[in-house]
Every structure is written in structure tokens, then in C-alpha cells.
Amino acid sequence: MNTEVFNKQAANVLVWLLLLAMPYWLPAIGGYIELGTRVVVLGLAAMALNLLLGYTGVLSFGHAAYFGLGAYGAGMTVRYLVPSTGLGLLVGTVVGAVAGAIIGPMIIRLRGVYFAMVTIAFAQVFYFIAFRWSTVTGGDDGLTGWTRQPLHLGFTTIDILHNPTAFYYLVFVVFAVAIAIMAWLLRSPFGRTLLAIRENERRARFLGIPVDQHIWISWTISCAFASLAGALYAYVNNFVDPRALYWTQSGDFVIMAVLGGMRSFWGPLIGAAIFVTLQDYVSSQTENWMSFVGLFFVLVVLFFPRGILGMIRRKVAS
């Protein structure tokens, strides 16, 4: 086994161990479990976005829409249909994926800044629907009057509402399954084709790869995982409000991916950890947290354009 492969495997093991043991070490260093849960959930969304951003080379800026659709899908299922955690996750994911699949054909032919502009503009439709359709969605006040439901496993029932550790492990399991699927996809011929499109789209086209179709599939998968993250996010808060769909939320996901490193698998998760922790701290310290978050964006672009993992990799290589 050469060193690079060994390093990669070691990093994977380390990340999984850290995530698995989160409820034990995080409180010890001054955090709290809910913060860890939020990091994992938003990290999943950022990793889903990175499927497009980092691996397909498509500049998507509107992922808040699918994240928010997943959140509303899960919340409304539990609130109006069946008080079932699993079904909520399923409905949320399907709703977001279907919306992505429908919007996909309208945007896949666009590239670069145009793609970014159209995706972020489209995301606003869902914001206004959630905002205006207040009889169903609760409008600006958000969707309230529900909580996450106990998990029935047949042989036992787990109370995830009052036990943050149990809830964390539910999120962790969902995250692990999603990440495993993502990693498998990226290793498959399909994932390799995405890389080829990212590196040289024209060449890929000449080789007979149906580029638009691949981007559409990649887009839909990315939307599906983003909405899964959104569904989990609804459970984290026991609440959904239209801000989960607002265009500023889309920017948050992009900055997480860039900050951690778009070209590395775990980058967006690390970006999410830093971003969420920082936002949590700053908003507890000052009312003007938006300025700090904005300043953070500017500093990341100016000084860490390759992201943290990108920088480390460069240091190791040189």
C-alpha cells in the first residue's frame, strides 16, 4: 500500500471515529451535542452540493431550495399526515428530488455564472410559496405545532425528542448511509464520468458522453441528498421556517464547501464544522453577526480559495 492510499484510508477512519464518538468528546471541549448534530446535518447538505460544485464542476447556487423543500416535506408529513420519523425523511427527500428533477432540464444547458444565477433565482419560487401559502406552511411564522417522533424499531422504541445523544446517532446513521452511497457513486464509472466532464466538457462530449444527461442525473442526486439533509434539519429544530429556503442559505452551503475544500471528499464537512461553530459563537456574542459572516466570506475568498484541505494537500505535496 503506498503512502497516499494509506493517508486517505487513515483520514477516512479518523473522520468516522470522530463522528462516532462526537457525543463524548464534544461536550468535553466546550461544545454541546446539538451543535454537533447541526454540523453533521449541514455538512451533509454541503457535501451534496459539492457533488455538483467540486465533482461535476457545475456552479450551483440555489441548494437552499431543495434543502428547504426537504425540511417542509418532513415537517408537513409529521404535522399533517403520519407522525413517523422515517416516513418524514422519505417524503422530504422525494419531494426535493422530484423538484430538482423537474427543474433540471431547464437549467442543464446553461454554464458558469448563468447557471449560478438561474439556480439561485429558481430557489426563490419555493421561498415565496412557503412564505405566502401560510394556511399550510405557517408562512413567515414557520411550521410549528409538531415535534420529532419517537423511533419505533419493532423490538424497541427510542425517544429521540428528549435524548439528544440518541437523536445524534439517528442523524449519524442517516448521514453514514448517505455518505456511503455518495462515495460509491463517485467511485463508479458514473462518478468518473462526472470528473471527466468537470475537467474537459468538450472532450467528454467528443468521446460520446451524454453530458447534459449526466449533469441532470448528478443535479437530481445532489438535490435528493440536500433535501435529505433538510428533512433532518427540520427534526433538529422541531420547526421549519421560510428562511431555510432563502437565497442567503444557498450561499452558506457554497461557502462551507469552499472553506473546507471543494476538491476533497470530506472538505465540505470540515467547512460546515467551522462555519456552524463560528456562526453559533458570533451570533451569541453580537447582534451584528451578519457583518461577521459577510466578512468571513470575503476573507475565505481572499485567503483560503483552495479551502483548508486543499491547502494541507498542497503543503504535503511540496
Binding site: Q124, G294, F297
Partner: protein, 288 residues
């Protein structure tokens, strides 16, 4: 009924004029420098707030002239210090940077002028209705349409008749050649950015007279401006103008018949345009 419809069409036209002014500035910057300026709405808000703070000293007319100029100066500075560094890099970075700036501007205006909406006094004689039948035709509204008309005419004059404008248009098509011909491209991009921000500042002064001062005014107007550009066609300034007016009128008319879809309708229009004519109404083929 006719009156209500007319009222809303007229209202939509005015809102559309704001969108168009803002979208024209965005388009200018995007066409020449490939930067989507998310902070455009922030500049608009700053233009409006500057006018508000200036009014007691220089009056409405002074503010109308000075505030956009000062906003443009701020724009020149921001381009010089921050945005210039990102030309030629992946467009993702300029997107993120201006995104951060948008946050900072919105929060900055909130910090300086407060989160509460502030009233913006326009001269009294502009506010009285001109006709009892068409109560909505106040002088201020006609005045706004007039100012927007003058600004747009001025912009097209600059672009078509002055050396700066011709260089901007040439640079939009082929910046490298323009550079080789001895034009200072850095300065050109700087001036072009300033011109775009001037339009945002002007839209800001006019918009706060109609909508009132809110720190969030920028972030609420920027998405419709994107839609205006997409509907009108990327790369085409007349298209952007048309797109802005169209979506303004469309949301005005929708207010009459289906008020809860007032905002959503423009995105539906965008989807329709993208399906039928992906390059936009007046966009050039194959540019994006």
C-alpha cells in the same frame, strides 16, 4: 375594475423600472467583467440611505444628484480594493465575495440607520394626484418614470456615443483585443463598475421614495433583477430593460387577480422563457 387593473399595471411599470435600472447595472458589470454582483442590492440600499441622511442639508434635488454619485465612488473603491483581485479566476470566487459584501452592507445599514423603516419625504407638490379619476397618477410616480427614462437614455447615449461606452461594448465582445489595442482594461473595468453602481444608487434613491427605507430593501430587489436579466437575455442591455419592465407589469397584473402569487409569477415567467428560449428574449445565440 379597469381602474384597478390600470393602477396595477402602472404600479408594475414603476416597480419594473426599478428592476430594470438595477438589472442594467448588474448586466453592465457581468458582461464586461463576468462578475455577478450580489452586493448590488446593498449598493442600492446605501444610495437610498445616503439620500435620506443628505436631505436635510442639500434638499431632495441635491440628494437625488449627490447620493448616486457617492454610491458610485464607493463602488469604484470596492472594485479597486476587492473585486479586481478576482478577475480571471473561477467565477465562484467573485460570487462568494460579493455575497459576503451583500451581508455586510445590509447589516451595516442596519447598524448605522437602525432596523426600523424610515420615512423618506419627497417634495409635497410631487405627491398630489394629478387627476381625480386616475388617483394613482401622482406626480412622484410620473417623475420616477421620467427619471428612469432619462437615466436609461443617458446610459445608452454613453454606450453608443462616447469613447468610454464604445470601449465598454468592445470589451464585452473581446476584452483581449481591446487590451492589445492599448486600452487600459483595469481602468475600463473600474469605470464600468462605477457606472453600474451609479445606476444602483439612483434606483435606490427613487425606490426609497416609493417603498420607504428598509435595510432589507436591497436583498428583496436583487432576485427580481436577476430574473429581469434572464428573461431579457444575458448579454443584451435592451433585453434587460425589456425584461425588467415585463416582470414588473406581470407581477402588477397578478396582484389584481391572484395576489398571493405576486412574487412567484416572475419566476414562472423565467421558467417559461428558459424552456422556450433558453438564451432569453433578446439574448444572443451561443453566448452562454
Amino acid at each position: 375594475m379597469t381602474q384597478v387593473v390600470l393602477f396595477n399595471i402602472f404600479n408594475g411599470l414603476i416597480v419594473g423600472a426599478f428592476y430594470a435600472l438595477m438589472a442594467l447595472g448588474l448586466s453592465l458589470i457581468m458582461n464586461l467583467s463576468g462578475v455577478i454582483n450580489f452586493a448590488h442590492g446593498g449598493f442600492l440600499a446605501i444610495g437610498g440611505y445616503l439620500a435620506f441622511s443628505m436631505m436635510p442639508y442639500v434638499g431632495f434635488w441635491g440628494a437625488l444628484i449627490l447620493a448616486p454619485v457617492l454610491t458610485a465612488v464607493l463602488g469604484l473603491f470596492v472594485e479597486r480594493v476587492l473585486i479586481r483581485r478576482l478577475y480571471g479566476r473561477d467565477p465562484l470566487y467573485s460570487l462568494l465575495l460579493t455575497f459576503g459584501l451583500a451581508f455586510m452592507f445590509e447589516d451595516g445599514t442596519r447598524f448605522i440607520w437602525g432596523a426600523q423603516g424610515l420615512p423618506f419625504q419627497v417634495p409635497g407638490w410631487l405627491l398630489s394626484p394629478l387627476s381625480t379619476d386616475y388617483f394613482f397618477l401622482t406626480g412622484y410616480r410620473l417623475f420616477m418614470v421620467l427619471i428612469v427614462g432619462i437615466a436609461v437614455a443617458g446610459l445608452f447615449f454613453i454606450l453608443n456615443k462616447t469613447r468610454l461606452g464604445i470601449r465598454i461594448r468592445a470589451g464585452t465582445l473581446d476584452l483581449e483585443t481591446v487590451s492589445v489595442l492599448g486600452v487600459n482594461v483595469r481602468l475600463l473595468r473600474n469605470m464600468n463598475f462605477g457606472l453600474g453602481i451609479y445606476l444602483a444608487g439612483l434606483a435606490g434613491v427613487l425606490a426609497v421614495g416609493q417603498l420607504g427605507l428598509q435595510p432589507t430593501i436591497g436583498s428583496s430587489l436583487i432576485m427580481p433583477s436577476f430574473v429581469a436579466i434572464i428573461v431579457g437575455g444575458l448579454g443584451s442591455l435592451p433585453g434587460t430593460l425589456l425584461g425588467g419592465l415585463l416582470i414588473g407589469v406581470a407581477s402588477g397584473v397578478t396582484t389584481v387577480f391572484f395576489p398571493s402569487a405576486t412574487e412567484a409569477v416572475i419566476y414562472v415567467m423565467m421558467a417559461a422563457v428558459l424552456l422556450v428560449r433558453p438564451r432569453g428574449l433578446l439574448g444572443e445565440e451561443g453566448r452562454f
